[in-house]
Symmetry: C2
């Protein structure tokens, strides 16, 4: 028997609003209105209900309340995977923004597989969510499922946008700008940077690579890309970074170059590879090995050396996505403009480059 749990612990449990109405002595519809907005009933009823609720244990049935209502007060979110602090941070800012707007968030994870993603879409549709925010699996996403989502309810893409969905609202980072920023910075201070890529499973990987190539051309420099081939199937991003760069180092290449990694997780692996070879990224700003990432993964400041990177404004993205979705929800279908909001990346200069 736990102590201190006595207060109201054994109140009679009522299953339906009907039971509650006889217990309190107010009609069921009045209760219904009370639960939707306590101020919609008279003060006397309100107080009477409130007192009654203290004596019993009752919670309205979530499904029944949502059934016959125009709005379910829920928005759906789909993220591609869980083992990445970038997406969990995005999820968090979406949840806070939605909570503030009075919405319940239903999160589904597609676990990097299009089939699970498509199933998640069906689940959200069948739940009658008022709108959906999806961080897709890049070009791996089930485009037909996304199209269905887009036809059926307010829908916003975040983080990346498959080429086939260019007509859908999108909130994200201006990758060409952000990657260009880093490319330019590294080029300005040292040798032309080398791009450490990863197998094209990641959704913004190609965008980042493209942005790098463009900027290099603009600067009149010779681009160099390494690490595109898969080294170990199913390896974490970090492992890929370590293996790919380690392979270069092992053959004596790139040990004094500027490495611009496709993202921070790969960069973490790159730092590890450098350490394994006794290299100290960023020790010499000019002429020595430098390593930079992209995303501003929350751990970057704590790495050794701390990682120079480009920060994405995840909070802004999450808030803007929710704001846009709310606007679409309120506007029903009268909103015909097609919004793309891109936030610029900002350089986070730290020790590694």
């Amino acid at each position: 028997m736990p102590k201190g749990s006595g207060a109201g612990g054994e109140r009679p449990r009522l299953r339906t609003m009907e039971e509650l109405s006889v217990a309190i002595g107010v009609s069921r519809p009045t209760l219904s209105r009370y639960f939707q907005d306590p101020d919609s009933v008279s003060r006397s009823s309100r107080e009477r209900i409130a007192r009654g609720l203290e004596r019993v244990e009752y919670v309205p049935n979530f499904f029944a309340t949502r059934m016959n209502r125009k709005s379910t007060g829920m928005i759906g979110v789909i993220i591609p995977y869980l083992n990445d602090l970038f997406f969990t941070k995005l999820q968090q800012s979406i949840e806070f923004a939605a909570m503030e707007a009075g919405f319940t968030v239903i999160v589904q994870c597609s676990h990097t597989t299009p089939e699970v993603e498509a199933r998640a879409v069906e689940t959200l549709i069948s739940m009658n969510v008022d709108g959906a925010i999806v961080a897709p699996l890049g070009d791996n996403s089930d485009i037909a499922a996304m199209e269905r989502l887009n036809r059926r309810l307010p829908f916003v893409l975040v983080d990346s946008r498959p080429g086939a969905l260019s007509h859908v609202d999108y909130i994200g980072t201006e990758h060409s700008q952000s990657m260009g920023l880093m490319t330019e910075y590294l080029a300005r201070v040292g040798d032309p940077p080398v791009f450490l890529a990863m197998p094209r499973v990641n959704f913004n990987a190609l965008n980042h690579e493209r942005a790098y190539l463009e900027k290099m051309e603009e600067l009149g420099l010779e681009p160099q890309v390494v690490g595109t081939e898969e080294i170990e199937p199913g390896a974490h991003y970090e492992a890929h970074g370590e293996l790919a760069l380690g392979r270069e180092f092992a053959e004596g290449r790139l040990t004094d170059r500027s490495i611009i990694c496709v993202n921070d997780r790969v960069a973490i692996g790159a730092l590890r590879a450098a350490a394994r070879f006794g290299l100290d990224p960023g020790a010499r700003r000019k002429g020595g090995l430098r390593i930079a990432g992209h995303d501003d993964y929350p751990l970057c400041p704590f790495l050794v050396p701390s990682l120079t990177t480009v920060g994405q404004d995840v909070d802004a993205i999450g808030q803007a996505a929710v704001a846009r979705l709310m606007k679409k929800i309120r506007a029903e279908n009268s909103l015909t403009d097609h919004a793309v909001t891109l936030f610029p990346g900002v350089l986070k200069l730290r020790e590694s480059a």
Copy 2:
């Protein structure tokens, strides 16, 4: 207009099973049975329905289907925060296990605040989930809410268990064993280890500290705990580790000791502090600074130096939690035994200690 989305993109959309039944020419109840289990209708009906579904767009209403059914096929999960790969990994293994068992998972995050957690509990109850798995806020959790959950439906705690809920099923790591293991290892190879704690907001922090103290006493060694006071309000665990240990180093203390951190995130900060003071944890196994953590955070192998830690079997915990929950769900209330499953931690020896 996107290309390649034509296949069935414009099929007539039916909102209700009633409409579908007239469109296909089968009675609604037959459809109902089909959607719950296609094998529960005759082969002819099954094929006829399947063919019909290809011609139209219809997805059953999630709420309506769950309303009048004994089981909703959903389990609820509550995790304390999102910005931690340990919990997301736990969530992932729970989701996979539940998916395999044919259940839909509803995840709610309590964002470290008891009020949000209590609200999440209400949401899960009102959704009639078949059971719930909760990683609580330690002793900060709303005990009354947890008690209510425990009375109303199959319920399993994971990761940590508030003292007041000792009568609830619990799946976790055997913290006294795992922390003892590390304490013993460090003590065996060098000076008596020092415990780097954190403000008591974290749920297993106290368990770990207690386990350390017990083991030290058992070994006949003098315990030493640092870092219990809050240095910077709201700081990340990593920041706390860096600040707390950095403060010691700045005054010339602990620079050649074995530091056992309350968890890996704090250890990451500790590694950073060491680097800032030009120290190289683990370089000398005997006599020099060593730093160890707890949890086997996914990034540990990639840190510089890689972090020696104690691994929790997160997958096993997630799977066991789901398995136990399934058993309770199937057993209704006939299950009276009270289960506690603890998985041992395993030493992960790496470079830092």
